[in-house]
Each structure stands twice: as C-alpha cells, then as structure tokens.
Amino acid sequence: MSESLAESQPEPIREPIREPILELVDVVAGYGPIIVLQSVSLTLHRGEVLALLGPNGGGKSTAMQVCCGLVPIISGQLRFAGRSITGAAPDALARAGVCAVPEGRGIFPNLTVHENLMMATHTGMSLAEIEHTAFARFPALASRRWQLAGTMSGGQQQMLSMSRALATNPAVLLLDELSMGLAPKIVSQLYEIVANVAAEGVSVLLIEQFARSVLRIADRAAIMLNGRIVRTGPPDELADELSAAYLGGKANS
C-alpha cells in the first residue's frame, strides 16, 4: 500500500528506479567461529517497509545487528545509500542515520524519560524540540517526564524507545520484535505509527516472529530460515508459505 503511495509522490529524483538505501550483499556473519548468517543478501529501498520474518533461531536478530554494526561481518558487504559501510562502528552508523530499536526494551532503565530523550540529541536537534515531538506522538509519556524509565509499563517503555529512535530523524529504522510482550492493542498502535513514519519517507526494516501483525503494513517481506533468506516477495504471496516455514517444512514455491 505504501508502494502505491510512494509512486504517487511527485519526487522526480527517485521516481524511475527504486533506490536502495540499505543493502546486505552476500553477508556472512556470526559469533566467533560459528556462522549464523550464511550469505545473506537483502535490499531495503528508500521509503519502504520490509518485514523480515521467520522462526526462532533463524538469524533475524543477527541480521539486524549486522545492519547496525553490533555484529561484525566475516565476508560480504553492508552498503548504506550506495556507500560501503562494512565494519563501521555502531555509534558511527547511528550518527549516519541507521537507527535501531533492539529486541527487548530499548531504554535506559536508570535514567528518567527526560534523560532518555536527551540521548537522542546527538543529531543537533534541541532537547525541547525532541520532547515536543515525542510527547505529541505519545501523550502518555508527557506526564512521566521525570519518572525512571525502568519503572514504566512495557508499552510505555516501547513508546519511549520508539520516540527516541524517531527523534533522530533516521534514514533507516530497524525494529526488532517490537511486539514482544506487549498487549495487541498497543502493538497495533505502535505499528500504525511505523506506517506513518514510513509514509514520511523513512525506510523501515521490521523483524517479527508473529508475522500476521506486520504483513498488513509491510510493502515486502522476506522469510529467513537457518541463516538464509529463502523467499522474498509481496506480503500476501508469502503469507501462505510462512506457516510452512514455521512448521519446519521446506519453503519452496
């Protein structure tokens, strides 16, 4: 749906071809001698929502950690906006505009909400501005400004995490298991925001186990199994194959 949205936008520069923003090219990565990603190639285009799906232990989170620089690449390339950024440090990537919301709650539990938002000021935006947008997006946070983030509910923590990520105006947003441990109502609220953000031009890589919740907002989806991308395509086409992937069958089309 946002693909059609992208096409309707009168932006001549990226009209002819869909421009890749973040690319994994034949990436092999893992922990020490143990290979988790076996030659993964994946392209995230500008302004698109790509859902990376698959069962536990398939390498989804590793793929995300490769994208944000936390796991070093053994061979292959990581490219951002056409330039190779293989081997860049996580903080350099964050400053360049690749923003990640890691698995679990991406907050600093012993800092207040205010101080958590302060951590997003490295882009040069003022703290007041950041707070303004964050509180406008998530009014629930405004009243908890001076509360320690660790003492808030899971949903509020995830809201804080999202708003801090969005405050940096990232080019790419990486979201790992946003739905984990949250009430369905809050999850759909969060994904609505993700869809809105994508419509504003941010490219989003979503990682999910519970596929149904994200297929609705994704432009494309990829299924990852045993460290390989086994299938890429439009969400509705993949929906059927997903159950095969989860149940251990071969996902061949």
Partner: protein, 758 residues
C-alpha cells in the same frame, strides 16, 4: 557550647575531604558499574607524587597540584580503564570485586617499590600554606582545611550538574545501563568511561593530597585506609546519589569529631580508645544494613560462564592420595627453610578452603578471613594457654579447636544474620567493615576484659601483650613441633576437609547452594528458604576459616596484632583464592602455595642472583626481586580478567588429554617417581629433578597428543558437525560446551576466542 561549635567546625572540615573521596567513588561506580576498591590506592600514590613534586623536587605549589590532580591522577584513571577495567564488562560480581582489589594491591606495591623499597623513611607531606590558619568560632582552622571545604562544595555542585544536567554526564550514566543501546543511539561509551575514570581518579588524587598531612609521616596502607573511611558515605548514597553522599560524608566527619569531643580524644574510656578508628566501619555496616535493597530479581541471569566441574568422590579420594604422597616426597627433598614456606602456604590453603565453600559454591563474599583466624586464635589461646601467659599445655587441644570453630561459626552467623539481605559487593563490604571493627576493638585491644557471669569472675585477655602464642598439636604420639610433620598434618587436614567439601558439593545441600548462587529468585519460587541456607553456609565457612586460621597461627607459633589483621591480608587472600580457582579445592591449594612462594621464595631467588652477580645487584634485587615481592601477586590478580575460572581450571584443561592415553600417563608418572628416588638418593640434583618435572608438565601432554592423533580426532574436528546431533551421534563433551559458549557469545570462559562479539 564553645567546644561543640569548635568540633562542628572540625567535623565539617573532615567531612569535606571525605566528601571529595566518596563522590569520586560514586562517579566511577555510577558510570562504570565497578566499585573501585583501588580508589584509596590512587589517592595514596597521588599524595606521594604530590610530595615528590612539591617537596622532593621543589616545584611551586600550583604547578605541583595541577600536575598531580589534573595530569597524573586522571592518567592513572585512564590507564586503569583502558588496560584493566574495560575487560570487566560482563564478568561476574566476584571478578569485578577481585580485580580492583588486585589493582589496589598493585598500586600500593608500586608505591612501596618506588618510595619505600629500602624500608621505612620519613615522608612528611605539608599542608597548603603550612601552618597558617584562621579563627572560626574560636577554633583554629588551617587554610588547608578551608581549601578542602571549598573544593568539596565545588566538587559536589559540579558533579551534580555534570551527571544530571549535561549530555556527557547522562551518557556516562547510560553507559552502565546498556552500552550496546548507547552505541545504537550514537553515544560513545568508551569515551564516556574514560571520562568518568579520569574524573574519579582525579577526585581520588585530590582527596589523597588533602588527607595526607593528617597522618604526619606518610604510610601507604594507613593512608589508603584513611580513604576507605569515606566509603560509608558513598554506600549511604547507594553509590549513585551525589547529594546523599555529600550529606553522608558530613555526618561521618561530624560523628568522628563529636566522638573525640565526648571521649576527650579517646582518653575517657581506655577500652574503647580505638572506637574512634572503628567509627567509619561501624557507620559502613549500619549504612549497609539500613540501605534499601533491591527486590530479588529473576531477570539478572548473568551472562557469564564461570562454571566449575565437580569431581566424583572417587576422583577426589584419588587426588587426595596423590597430594599426600606428592607432598611427602617433595618435603623429603627440600631444605628446612623451603619446608617452612611450603607449610605457610599449606596453612593459607586451609584458610582459602573456607572461601571455596562460601564464594566458589555459594557465591557469597567474605573479605575478613583473617579476622576469623584472629577470633579462633583468641579462643584457642584462652583454653590452651590461659591468662597467666604461660604455655600450660604442650599441645593444641581438640577441645580448643572445636571451641574456636564453634565461636567462629557463631560470630560468622552474627554478622551474616543482619547481612543476609545483602548480596555480592554489599555483603563483601559488610564483612570488610566487620573485619575492621573487630581489628580495632578486639584485636588491637590490650586491656584485659573483666566481668562476671552468674557470680563467676572472668577475665578475657585479648592481645594484651600485643601478641599471642598457641602451641602446635601433639597428637597420636607425634610431636608436630617438627616442621615436616606439621606440614604433613596440615596436608592431611586439607585433603580431609577438601573431601568433605566435595561431598557437600555433590549432595542435595550442595545443589541448593549452587542454585542459590545462580538465581535466588528461582530458589525462592521453589520454596527454598534462602535465608537459612545462606546463614548455614556462612557459619560453616566461618568455622572452616577459624580452623584454617588456627593452623596458620600454630604454623607461625606467635602472632602479633599487627597488619596481619588490618584487612589487606584478607583482601589479598581472597584475591589469590579467586585467581587460583575459587570453585576448586585445588584452587585453594594453588592459592596458598602461590601466595607463600611468590612473596617469599621469588624475592629470595633474586636476592641470591643479586649476590652471585654483584654488578647486576640493582637489577635483580631492587628491580625484579622487590618488584615481584611488592607488585607480583597483584599483577597476577589483574590477569584474572582473561580467565575468570582461575588457574586450577587451566591446569586441569592442560592435563585432560592424558585421560585418553592411560599407558603413556602411567609411564610418565612412574618415571617421575623413579627420578624422585634418584634425586632423593642424591644421584641427581634436586634442581635438575624440579626442572625436569616442571618441564615435563608442559611438554608431555602435547607429546602424547602428537603421538596418538587418532585418539584426539574428535577434538580436532570440533565445530564442523551439526550441533543438533551432538549428544545423539556421540556423547556431549567438554569442547562442545566451549563451542556453545562461543556460539552463545558467553564471555568469560575464554575472552580471546569470543572477542568478536563484544
């Protein structure tokens, strides 16, 4: 009233210096998660550097201050962070405590080596502006003290703004919460850590320079302890809050000065004369007790792997036999002096055994092992020697040993009881505080305590004459005053206690202890009474510490109430026990032998070399010899970061291949016995024997692996097979576990192999 005001003024002055020291501690803890035990040592060495610059080399005061506090001390902090503390990430709480202890001892050793290697000398730091002073409320206040108050206020204010209002400070605090997340947010945790260590060390240096003139002639360990006095303030602020720490420091300073006022500087009640010095420890204990503790948390399953394998009872008995036989063979070859240092080591090993149970198995910390030795000594002395001061018995009686163990268990229970809520670092601090209190009030007590119970008059002599002597045992018709016999007695005791510990570890009780260490929350949900379990382990371990301590005292024969008990010895023993391998009986053995050999034998070797080659005397004796003596053990402690499971584990891993080549191993063992026999008969030299045995330890396992490659194929092929099939296709083995450690990126087992993930 006039006095009250005067002492208030003095209290504020003292409190200010404490505030500077304590806030420095808070900065490093709240920004790096490491409780920097070495804070006091940084302060001490900075005071010495300042003295060297100002009074030794006659630089101007401002220049010396800037060089010390803004250059030297922060450089030390940055060095520590880069070289040592950075490796502490993701290690267990025990390791995070031990390594700063090692750093403390290393820095103090270094300072001793640089300034005091030729014995004592008078280094008398001067106050700023000398003796110039103001009159405040009728009390003479030195300019030095006024400067201290001003700096304390500036420090507290500055730090508050830094930590809570500036992005840099918030980044520093965020670093402790979640480094990776901070990086994902574009923060630079490494820089933040460097900054916080530089600031913390700078504050330590400032505190050192301000405190040093209080002492008169500077003594390294005494000055370090003086900085320790500030710790209760930091603990009162839960190691995080700058304002509470500041208030705590003032309370501390005022309490000490008011006590001086009430007691006329300790002269009013002679028995409580040392209470003055115990006040900080008492306040530390109190602060720990009343500190609101976090609830039991289930989520803090440590991502560390310091797992210790448990021998079967059969293996343990076999190894015990080997140890006794080896010790008997070894001492037969050794000269008297060497036997004494080996026996000292064995006594220390006995003491370290109590830590295997407490820390290795149960994960609790006791930083006052020597205090229990002191308590046991006092009890045994009352029973076997008595207040007449004459040795009325020729033998240490079993009654005295049992009574000493019982009293130690009760004392251990008494400190553990209030401290049961505490865990890890806080429990360690509580035991350290307890050790200091006992040291000041009991062990330094030279007045006999008189009283009456149910009409019976009694007198308890503590260290009335400054030292106590206990007889050695005379059992089974053997006179253990003979050093070799006593060494063998201690070896047998070590084996028996070791077997008992292995038995405990393998029992249901042992599994409960381990479970408590791994996850108190899970234990609680399973219906275990954690409090009772903890109390039991603490009491048992205290009794063992008392037993070991008593043997150690009997080994020394006469013990003075000097720095054996002042806390540093306990820190050193704890550190070496962890380095040796705190989860292993053999770790305790290694620790004791190591401590004794390293601090006595190594320097002696270099002294010998120095006298053999006079032209290189400085190099061997002052350079290497003294350096190993003062700094060596601590440097080994710092190495621990690389292998948190300890040396014992490494040694055993080295020998593991031997199991698959039983014939080769038997041949090796019997050739050692033959060589020993030749050496004993004088056919080959003792040194030749020692060198051949030590060399073969390193070479033989490798040679055997090379000779029988087919028996080690599975080790070589590790990492190639499908992990799902391990355990089905073939048995699950040790190297598989190592592989999974790496795969799961569990740090700690061997960092060099899993660095890629950090």
């Amino acid at each position: 009233m006039q006095d009250f005001l005067a002492y208030t003024v003095l209290g504020i002055c003292l409190g200010s210096v404490y505030a500077i020291a304590a806030t420095g501690l808070v900065v490093t803890y709240s920004t790096s998660g490491v409780f920097n035990v070495a804070h006091g040592a940084v302060a001490t060495i900075s005071a010495l550097v300042y003295w060297q610059l100002r009074q030794g080399w006659h630089l101007s005061t401002p220049l010396a201050i800037v060089l010390t506090i803004c250059v030297f001390a922060p450089a030390v902090g940055i060095f520590l962070e880069l070289v040592v503390m950075r490796g502490l990430r993701d290690t267990s709480e025990v390791t995070r405590l031990v390594i700063p202890i090692a750093v403390l001892l290393a820095i103090n050793g270094l300072a001793t080596w640089v300034w005091f290697r030729d014995g004592s000398r008078a280094i008398v730091p001067k106050k700023f502006f000398g003796e110039q002073h103001l009159q405040v409320l009728g009390q003479a206040v030195y300019y030095h003290q006024v400067i201290g108050v001003g700096l304390a206020m500036a420090t507290a204010g500055g730090l508050y703004v830094l930590l809570y209002r500036s992005r840099l400070g918030v980044t520093m605090r965020a670093t402790v919460d979640d480094r990776r997340l901070l990086m994902l947010n574009g923060g630079r945790p490494d820089r933040a850590s460097l900054g916080s260590w530089a600031i913390g060390a700078g504050l330590a240096g400032l505190a050192g320079v301000l405190l040093a003139p209080q002492q008169g002639a500077l003594q390294i360990f005494a000055l370090t302890l003086l900085v320790f006095d500030a710790y209760p303030a930091a603990v009162g602020g839960r190691l995080r809050s700058v304002p509470i720490t500041f208030v705590g420091a003032m309370v501390l300073g005022l309490t000490r000065q008011y006590f001086d006022w009430v007691s006329h500087a300790g002269q009013s009640w002679l028995a409580l004369r040392n209470l003055r010095n115990a006040i900080p420890a008492i306040l530390l204990f109190a602060a720990l007790l009343f500190l609101p503790q976090g609830r039991l948390r289930g989520a803090v399953v440590a991502r560390t792997r310091e797992r210790f394998t448990v021998p079967t009872m059969k293996q343990a008995v076999a190894w015990g036999g080997v140890l006794i036989a080896a010790m008997a063979m070894l001492q037969a070859l050794m000269k008297g002096a060497a036997v004494i240092s080996l026996a000292n080591g064995m006594a220390l090993s006995l003491m370290a055994l109590s830590l295997v149970l407490l820390t290795g198995y149960a994960g609790e910390i006791n930083l006052a092992v020597y205090t229990f030795a002191g308590v046991a000594l006092i009890v045994a002395w009352q029973l076997d020697v008595g207040p007449t001061g004459l040795a009325t018995r020729a033998s240490l009686s079993v009654t005295a040993i049992l009574a000493a163990m019982l009293v130690c268990a009760v004392v251990g229970g008494l400190i553990a009881l209030p401290a049961l809520r505490l865990r890890g670092l806080y429990l360690g601090l509580a035991t350290f505080a307890f050790g200091t209190i006992v040291y000041q009030l009991v062990i330094l007590q030279t007045k006999p305590l008189r009283g009456s119970i149910f009409g019976h008059q009694f007198t308890i002599n503590l260290f009335t004459t400054g030292s106590l002597t206990v007889p050695r045992p005379h059992w089974f018709g053997i006179d253990f005053r003979d050093q070799r016999a006593f060494l063998m007695l201690m070896t047998v005791m070590f084996v028996l206690i070791g077997l008992a510990l292995v038995g405990i570890r393998r029992s249901a009780y042992g599994r409960m202890i381990i479970a408590m260490k791994d996850s108190p929350a899970a234990c609680a949900t399973l219906g275990l009474n954690i409090m009772r379990l903890k109390l039991g382990v603490f009491m048992l371990s205290s009794a063992l510490a008392g037993l070991g301590g008593l043997m150690w005292a009997a080994q020394q024969r006469t013990l003075a109430n000097n720095n054996n008990f002042d806390g540093f010895a306990s820190l050193l023993l704890f550190m070496i026990a962890v380095v040796g391998g705190i989860g292993y009986i053999s770790g305790a053995l290694l620790a004791g032998i190591f401590l004794s050999v390293l601090s006595v034998v190594m320097p002696n070797i270099f002294i010998k070399l120095g006298s053999d080659y006079p032209s290189l005397h400085w190099f061997f004796v002052t350079g290497i010899g003294n350096f190993t003596k003062f700094v060596g053990p601590a440097l080994i402690g710092i190495r621990l970061g690389k292998n948190p499971s300890g040396i014992a584990q490494q040694v055993m891993d080295g020998f593991r291949p031997l199991k698959r080549v039983p014939l080769g191993t038997a041949a090796w063992a019997s050739s050692i016995v033959v060589l020993w026999f030749l050496s004993w008969r004088g056919a080959i030299g003792h040194w030749t024997f020692a060198l051949v045995v030590i060399g073969s330890v390193f070479i033989v396992p490798r040679v055997l692996m090379g000779m029988f490659p087919e028996r080690f194929e599975d080790v070589a092929n590790a990492g190639q097979e499908d992990p799902d099939l391990i355990g089905l296709a073939r048995p699950f083995q040790r190297h598989d576990r190592d592989r999974f450690d790496r795969e799961l990126a569990l740090p700690g087992h061997d960092r060099s192999r899993s660095d890629a993930t950090s």
